[in-house]
Symmetry: C2
Subunit: 171 residues, 2 copies
């Protein structure tokens, strides 16, 4: 097995999903795999941004987004250690003000455009409202990372950060 | 509000998260927003692929991935209606055989490479194991969509499909 098998730091173990707020066991499972449901997301941080109103926010990150901060949980600090200032990264968020019961939308919220299936659009409204953002890392201060080109609203939960594999490639 | 406000079809409403298997109310919330926790994913389909062994699967989609099928839930059919054969799409999956308690890994599972923070790698092992795949749509048969360049394992839950905004751009 080509895996990293070092034990998780205690703080991370405590941080990972094991109980929901009502005390029910969720998604920890045997061997700490993610197998089995329900699949419960555990935010690793939050967006701190001047953007607070969905209807005023830019539709895409390079359409007038202000600088924003990614504020990570201290428990995931080790995972951040190789991020570099000046590089681009992909940030996945949970668009917590989206609707999950919508399957067709007017692209870019423009009623003049014909409705399209949500899976052909970047609408935040979709069954699993996961935001996909390509940002540039501007500065790093411990678990606080400042970025450009993030259109997510203030308070949006952060789910993951991934590297851009090849400049201009979307894998 | 620039939103699509048409009522959800009954089948989608029934499909969306409302109760976990134990009968607890989860994540439906007032107004059907995704606000509040826990944030529970509702797979919209599954991958059907000859890839069954994580250790033999290619690390990235264009490194020898076979053709695969995306098998969607009938309830989300309307959302798929504008996907086009020959186009590229971004598929998000839940990497259900990953570990969630890992923060540093050897890149590409190679013990000869120094460990890196997971958020600088595409390791499936990470706190929220969401897979990000750029695929090419080869054919469409109702809710079955055949794709190239998908390295996800057979049975992997599908979370979302998004368009590539600009060829070679990763937003």
């Amino acid at each position: 097995m080509r895996r990293t098998n070092q034990p998780a730091p205690q703080s991370l173990t405590a941080f990972l999903p094991g109980e929901d707020p009502a005390g029910h066991q969720v998604d920890r499972g045997v061997g700490r795999s993610a197998t089995g449901g329900p699949h419960v997301l555990q935010p690793i941080g939050r967006v701190e941004s001047p953007l607070v109103d969905r209807d005023l926010a830019p539709k895409q990150g390079d359409e007038g987004s202000p600088y924003a901060w990614l504020i990570f949980e201290p428990a995931v600090r080790e995972g951040l250690r190789d991020l570099e200032i000046g590089s681009d990264a992909i940030v996945l968020t949970w668009l917590d003000r989206a609707r999950r019961d919508v399957l067709v939308v007017h692209p870019r919220g423009d009623p003049a455009r014909r409705q399209e299936g949500v899976f052909s659009t970047r609408s935040p409204d979709r069954p699993n409202p996961i935001g996909l953002h390509r940002v540039e890392i501007v500065s790093i201060d411990g678990v606080r990372i400042r970025v450009r080109n993030l259109e997510a609203l203030d308070g949006t939960p952060i789910l993951d950060v991934k590297p851009v594999l090849h400049q201009g490639d979307e894998r």
